[in-house]
């Protein structure tokens, strides 16, 4: 993918397909360690050990329409291309957690991309879902949590245009204030 946010958008679909009700998206930039990590953790149905072992192979998929699945394999390959790493763990009935570590300064690391609009796309398509975004740069962090927003809004649905526009601006400002530069 040309941007890391496109991987996030793509992989969030796995969590939704796995009947998750909550997805945590953790983006951490550590300049000292020259690392950008992306963790996706859901409470979906999880994967059995045998399937988990093969899930980084592109010829593993739950799809029945075709035999190739490239979401996780491309995410892993992209991290490794920068000199980074990828790790995934899962438990049936509990959920799945994966982390990709990218070398922050690597010339092959794609830019983070447009996270505010990525989050808006996710919320529009899944207004009832619990998304928790954490964006940390060194020792500072910005958090966006749809459950918190929902409580403040009372009964107003998240997928109303005014709310969506506010969400986009809120995430944009929150992330820019940390000067991650990724």
């Amino acid at each position: 993918m040309r941007e890391l946010s496109l991987h996030i958008l793509d992989l969030a679909q796995n969590s939704l397909t796995a009947n998750a009700t909550r997805l945590d998206i953790l983006i951490r930039i550590d300049h000292e360690k020259d690392n950008l990590s992306i963790t996706l953790a859901d409470n979906g149905k999880g994967m059995a050990p045998d399937f988990l072992k093969s899930v980084t192979s592109p010829f593993t998929t739950t799809r029945t329409t075709r035999k190739v699945g490239l979401g996780i394999p491309m995410f892993k390959a992209n991290a490794e291309l920068t000199g980074g790493s990828f790790d995934i763990e899962s438990e049936v009935g509990v959920g799945t957690r994966m982390t990709a570590n990218f070398v922050l300064s690597s010339i092959d690391r794609p830019p983070l991309g447009d996270m505010p609009s990525t989050m808006v796309s996710l919320v529009v398509a899944n207004p009832e879902f619990h998304f928790h975004l954490e964006y940390a740069v060194d020792k500072e962090a910005f958090v966006f949590d749809t459950e918190e927003i929902r409580q403040v809004l009372g009964g107003v649905p998240l997928d109303t245009p005014e709310v969506l526009s506010w969400i986009e601006g809120y995430i944009q400002e929150g992330m820019e204030s940390l000067h991650g530069g990724a």
Binding site: M1, F59, V68, L70, P73, M74
Partner: protein, 115 residues
């Protein structure tokens, strides 16, 4: 032009011999970003890329490509070649650059992929 004829024109080596080379080459494409190729490639396409991992074979399979071409004598693991054979994707290797290979394909009148 089929894949066997293409290999001759490019002076390329078939890295997974035994695979069927009769497939017609309908178009050519050069790109190393796999997600991009997934969106832009087409069935019957000859795809030139410096990438050499298993995901390349998966993308070629997904799009039912005619073949994959690795430039600049890039090495590729046997396990990946075996998978390519299993999926009936010929993998060609050449000492030429992507630029030169694309030039030769273009000179043969091989067009861009049409979705």
């Amino acid at each position: 032009m089929n894949v066997a004829e293409l290999a001759q024109i490019l002076d390329a080596k078939v890295l997974n011999p035994g695979v069927d080379l009769n497939r017609e080459v309908e178009s050519g494409y050069v790109c190393d970003l796999l997600s991009w190729v997934m969106a832009k490639g087409a069935p019957g396409c000859a795809w030139i890329t410096v990438m050499n991992h298993m995901n390349v074979i998966a993308v070629a399979t997904l799009l039912d490509m005619a073949c994959v071409i690795l430039p600049e004598n890039i090495a590729i693991e046997q396990a990946t070649l075996d998978k390519a054979t299993e999926e009936e994707i010929p993998v060609l290797g050449s000492g030429k650059t992507s630029y030169e290979l694309a030039g030769l394909l273009y000179a043969q009148g091989v067009p861009n992929p049409v979705k």
